[in-house]
Every structure is written in C-alpha cells, then in structure tokens.
Symmetry: C2
Subunit: 449 residues, 2 copies
C-alpha cells in the first residue's frame, strides 16, 4: 500500500529514517511539493528533520525550510554555523524569506551570517531588510525585482530584463526609476510586448503607480492592496527611492494572521494557539482569560451578595439573573464586533457620537422587542405583572447599556492605540455581567422594593 | 480648501451634482482611482450615482462599477437594457467580473445580455461561466489567459503571446496545452526570456503545474493557493481540459469573507452586517441571535425555578450562579473556536476521540486551577468549607463538561455538513448556561442537600 495522507506519509518517513533506508527516503520525498514535505516534517522530532534534510540537495531542503513555521526554522538553523547558513541556505532563497529566517537568529549569529555572504551588495540589502521593524512594509518586502531607467529604450529594457531575470525568479512587475533610483512608474509586460523596440521607456510607462513607504503598517499595506486589487506594490523610502516590492502572497498571510488574531481575542484565547498544540501550550493560551472571567465572576457574586435581602424576599429574582447576564453579554459582543470589524476594514463612517446614537436606536428597538417578549412570558407563567414589568424594564435597560458600552469600549481602546479586539472577548461579557446584574437589582429595588 | 477625505469628497461631489456642474464633477473624479470613486459613490443615492456615471467615458465608469458592492451593482444595472450592458459594460471588463455582474441579473435579462454580445465565442464563455455553482472554482475563474501549444517553438509562442496580449490585460502565467486543450504544464516568463527562439516549448515547460477542477470549493482553492504560495492557479474540467485561471486577488476576498463570516457567527450577528448599515438592517442582523439567547434564558430560568427550594435554604447558591454560567460559556467558546479554526485551516490532527481526550486533559488542568481558586475564595469570605467545596467541584465539572461539549458540537456540525462556526456563537454560551447551572444545582444538592 502506498502511503497517501500526510499522516501515513509521516509514519512511513519515520520508519524509513529509523531504519536508515536513505535512498527510500529520497524516493518518498521525490514527488512531493516542498510545502507538503514541510507539513509532514512539522510534527517530526528535530533529529529526524535534520536527518531527512541531510539526504536532500541544498536547493531542495532550503526550499522546504522556508515552509516550516518560525519555531521549527529556528530550531533547525541552530544546528548550522553562520557560514553554512550564508553559503547554503541564503544562496537558494529570496531576500524576504532570507530576512524572515534570519530575524529569529541571535544577534551574534546574524553578524556571523552577514560576514560570510560573498556578495557584499546582497549582504548590505539583507542587513537593511533586518533593520525594518516587524509589522511594517519594510519587513515584508523583498528586494528582488526588475527595475529599468526611464531613459532606456524598449529594446535595452528587454535586454536588461533578460539579464536581471537570471536572478529574479518570477517577474511580477517592471519598475521605472530615474537616475537617482526615484520610483517614477511601472511598465506592463503587455506594453513591452506590443511596443516597437526603439521607443523610449519614458513614452510608454504608466505614471500612476501606487507605492507604500517602508514604515507603512502591514495591515495598511493589506488594505491598500485589497482595495486597489494589486498583485504587487513597490516600497519606497521617504525620498521616494525604490527599495523593494511586496507581493500579494505575503499579504494573504497578513490578512489571515489579523483575522486569526481577532478571532482568538474574541474567543478568549491568548497567543497563537493551534489545534495540534500540547496540553501545556493549550492551558497557557486559555487560562489567562479564564482567570479574568473568574475575577469577574467573583465580583458578580459580591453584587448578588449585596442584594441577598431582596433575593430572600423575592426568590424569583434569581430565576432571571442568568438571562439578564447572558443577554447583556450577547448584545455587548455584537456591538463590539461591529466596531472591531469596521475598524479592521477601515469602514467606520461617522463619529463616536453618531455611532452611539445609532446604537441607541438599535438597542431601543432590539431591547423593546426582547423586553416585551420576556414581560409577556414571565407574566404568563404567573410571576405577577409588576414583577414581569421589572424584568422587562431591566432587560431593556441592560440591552441599551450593553449596546452603548460595547460600542464605546473598542472605540476608546483603538483611540489609545490598544487593539480594539480586546473588547470583544471575555472582558466585555464579564463586565456586562456585573453591570447588567447591578442594573437588574437596582430596577427591581425601585419597582418592587 | 480642496476636499481630501472620502467624506469631504462625497459632500463636494453631491453639491456639484445637484448644481449640475458637470465639468467640475469630471475634474473632481479625474485624479481618483476607480476604487476610491466607488467608495465615495457607495453612500450616494442611486440617481446621483447614475448622474455621475453618465458624465464619464464608458471605459472609466465600467471600471468603477466593478468596485461597487453586489447590491449597488444590481441597482445600477437595472437602469440599463441588456443591449447596453452587452455593448458597453461587458466590453470593458474581464470575464470573471462580467460573470459576477451578471450573476445577480434576472434570467430574462441575462439572456438578453448574452444575445446582444457580438463575439459569439465570448458569449459562450460567459454562458459557461454562469453555469458554475457559487462558491466553486468555476464561479471564481476568468477565461482570459495566455495558452500555447506544446508543439510550438519559443518564437512562435512569443508571437502568439503578443497577439493574445492584446486581449489579456495582465499576463499572469503562460499555460501549455496539447491539441485537445488538455493542460500539460506552465511556462515561466523567465524561461521564455532566456531560451533560444527555435527551442520547442515541449523542451522547456514546467510539467509540475498544480491545477484545480471547476467544481472545487473556493475555500479549498484558497487553502491550496495559500499552502503552495501560488499567484494564479489553472482551472480544468474533469477531462483535464484548461477552462480558465483564478488569481490570488480573488482568493484574498474568499479568505476575508470566510474570516468575516466566522467572526460574525461567533459574535451572534447573522447576515452580512457592516458598521455603516441602517437601523433596520442592524436590527435584522442582530435580533435572531438575541431571540436564541432569550429562549435560552427562559429555559435557564426554569432550571433555577425548579431549584427554588434549595435556593431558599441556601441563598448563597445564587451568588455563584453567574460565575458558573459565565465560566461554562467562556470555556465552551474557547474549545469550539479551536476546532473551528483548525477545520478552517485544515489543521486538525487526530480523531474526535484523541481530540476529546486532549480537551479532557486541558479541562482538568484549567478546571482544577480555577476550582481551587474559587474554593479558596469562597471559604475565605466565610461561606463554610462544604459550601466552598460544592462551588469548586461544580466549577471543575462545568469546565470539563464545557470543554468536551464545545469540542464535540462543532465537530458534529462539520460532520453533517453544517458550518461548525455556528457552534461558537450564542448557541454554545446559552446551552452551557443551562447545562452548567443544572450541574451546579445537582452537585449542590448532592453535597449540601
């Protein structure tokens, strides 16, 4: 039986490695894409991964290395000297991947690698790339690209492209610069294919190229590329000089990471947690928010405790405590999520006040409908009209309050430079529990006390 | 003062349109990208949008139309005859955008459009595109691409590319097919630039091209393109014949939509809701889940009601009700979110049973820590040891239960072809509230009753 699933392939690979069947390992990996090999290797032990990589030609195993996650990459690279990394690993990959690989190395190792790169220009490029702060366009870009001078002709341009293409794996775009490397525009391959050889580049290039600066936040780069449907965007410095380019495949990762991070904050998971993680990683990712919930629960218990007397007189009050808390939590999360998504998509029209007044409307409408429903129910099951009114009015108040609170909190967090998605998780639910129950008891006190 | 923000530009545009200053409108829009114009137009009234589009050349306003959201696109297209759509709109856009635009038209209008397309081959292509089910690779692909025959030479290939490039806006990839249009591989521009003119294509093309079939789910296409870092992927039919290609910019939208949809389900929002939506759209998106929460709350109230006697004897039991409910909800959402994300990223190692046993471990560990904390707290504030133990044991049980339940529910939904993300919203919180409180009262009954 030929192994086909990742799981089967991993078991087979493990067996072959342990038995030292080197040529069978090579045969097994032969037909697989590097991304698939990386997926298989991701769950192996480090010595197994090293043994596997050693059997493959340098070009192949560096290609596989690029698909490993950051953690595995560092663990593997620890086993190589700076000289080996410079001469074997970096020879075979693009500068953005190279910078990514190197970012997690120690400062000492980084220096060692850079000193061992033969091509001094490339070493400089790489050193430059490493200076850009994580999460900026500079950290995301690669320096491999085809650039031509505005004063060239189409035929010189094609000759130069042929030369540069030796180094550049895929031609995403051709950028036109002046003598000072200032980005002027771009040239489509279509134009290049359909224009006479003697035509000056200056006559045919497109001047409307959209660029980002190296300090632009990666989320903003993603927004721009999505909005304008760009495949590749050039990166310039503050002077307008062309530094590199970012391709949309890197942006896909940014979008996915951003979405994952918002999702995890909402679900009360901290850090990057994956389904495959072990018991302790899992606990570490989950416990902090549970502790927040626990502290919130304790505070709630004191709110209830302070109203013990009322509860003793009217035990039915306890019946609707969970409902009030849950509805407040639900409404709060809804409101917060709308703000967080609006901010993430830069689609947040109006001011905080116009936003709050709209939420007030939504809260009133939803609140009235829910309040009438619960009033009717509790009256119908025989709780008495005044009690039913108290529950209904409480629910209405809690829904309106949660709408406003859920809107204002992420807005305020964002205003002070804190991730607004923090406001969608257990934090908002817990706070709404506490404040919701306080409102409930206050209204019950006023109406029934 | 020159208007610069979208908001200012919209106000200015509105003023100029109402005053009939046509040339000023054209000047205002001149320097703007079509995506920016679309963003401005998105909040205008339909007659305003129509008036604006009429002032622009056909090429320009069709480009703007492509950036509108589906709803606005249909509303605008309703004002055109099938003939106008065929002759003006479709002339200027790619086939995938054309199929998108047409998808929302009535069947009658679709037929009218197709009958008015002069190029019969293109009409056939478009009719084919319209047959693909939404959410499949076929519905996402465009038919514009450069394809060459394996028997050609490099020079014939370049000649053909020049000819085809007249129709194809951007050359993403060159596909190699045999005489029956069966996809054989791809040809990189680099190879084309660096190979002698007489070389046969068969000698230089890359045979390892990865393709998808037209019925492949779009989420699977996204996964494949992300995993293998593809910019463009060819789409074939079941015979392997080349039908079209999907570029990564379309996949970016798929990824974003999928993430947004999971996010909205978790936050208890139905439908697509945006920060800019009006009061009634907002209410419609939010009320359904609130009703789920309300019904859940009513069920919870009956659980509490059935334990009225116990509550009367031990009023402190009420103090910790919100805590038990909230913690169950938090843990349940954490567990579900991990499963949903794992399924979305196709990163879900192991079987349901191995998953559940791991969750049991996480639940035990988290549960014990939280239970000890609450036991210590409630004992310290003087609730009595037995009561403190009852609260602690309840919390432990609820956390373990919620971990397992939160894992099993999305798994089961997915197994039966239902979106597992449904399990992360108010549904899981509400159910955990009900079951959590039942567990709480049962344990309290057993230990304290």
């Amino acid at each position: 039986m030929t192994p086909t699933t990742t799981h089967e392939l991993r078991a087979e690979l493990r067996r072959l490695l342990s038995e030292g069947q080197d040529s069978a390992v090579v045969d097994l990996l032969e037909g697989l894409h590097s991304a698939d090999v990386a997926e298989i290797a991701q769950e192996l032990e480090i010595p197994e991964v090293l043994a596997m990589l050693q059997l493959l030609p340098a070009e192949r195993w560096t290609d596989i290395l690029v698909y490993f996650d950051d953690e595995l990459q560092s663990e593997i690279l620890e086993n190589f000297t700076g000289k080996e990394i410079a001469e074997v690993v970096l020879e075979n990959i693009d500068s953005d991947d190279a910078a990514d690989l190197m970012a997690d190395l120690s400062e000492e190792k980084k220096r060692e690698v850079l000193q061992n790169i033969e091509d001094v220009e490339y070493a400089k490029d790489l050193a430059d790339l490493l200076t850009h702060a994580e999460g900026t366009a500079g950290a995301l870009m690669a320096t491999e690209m085809v650039q031509v001078n505005e004063n060239w002709t189409v035929s010189r341009c094609v000759r130069e492209m042929r030369r540069q293409a030796e180094e550049v794996e895929v031609v995403h775009a051709v950028y036109v610069v002046d003598d000072h490397d200032i980005l002027l525009g771009s040239l489509s391959l279509k134009k290049l294919l359909t224009t006479g050889a003697r035509t000056p580049i200056a006559d045919v290039y497109d001047r409307s190229v959209r660029s980002v600066t190296s300090t632009t936040d990666e989320v903003e780069v993603a927004r721009i590329m999505k909005k304008y449907d760009l495949f590749v965007v050039p990166v310039v410095d503050d002077m307008g000089r062309l530094l590199g380019r970012i391709t949309i495949d890197d942006i896909v990762d940014v979008i996915q990471d951003e979405a994952d991070s918002n999702y995890q904050l909402m679900s009360g998971l901290s850090d990057e947690v994956e389904a495959g993680d072990g018991l302790f990683e899992m606990t570490r990712a989950r416990l902090p928010w549970l502790m927040v919930g626990l502290v919130g629960g304790i505070l709630t218990s004191t709110v209830v405790g302070r109203n013990e007397g009322e509860l003793a007189l009217l035990p039915q009050l306890a019946f609707f405590m969970p409902l009030i808390g849950a509805m407040g939590g639900n409404v709060g999360v809804q409101s917060s999520a709308i703000v967080v998504q609006g901010l993430a998509n830069s689609n947040m029209p109006g001011t905080l006040w116009s936003r709050l007044s709209r939420e007030l409307g939504v809260g009133l409408l939803n609140g009235l409908l829910c309040a009438l429903a619960i009033l009717a129910y509790s009256w119908a099951v025989g709780h008495g009209l005044l009690f039913a009114v108290a529950v209904g009015v409480s629910l209405l108040s809690v829904i309106i309050f949660a709408s406003l609170f859920g809107t204002a909190v992420p807005w305020a967090l964002n205003h002070y430079g804190i991730d607004p998605a923090l406001a969608t998780g257990p934090f908002i639910t817990t706070t709404n529990d506490i404040l919701g129950l306080s409102i409930y008891f206050a209204i019950a006190n006023a109406l029934l006390g």
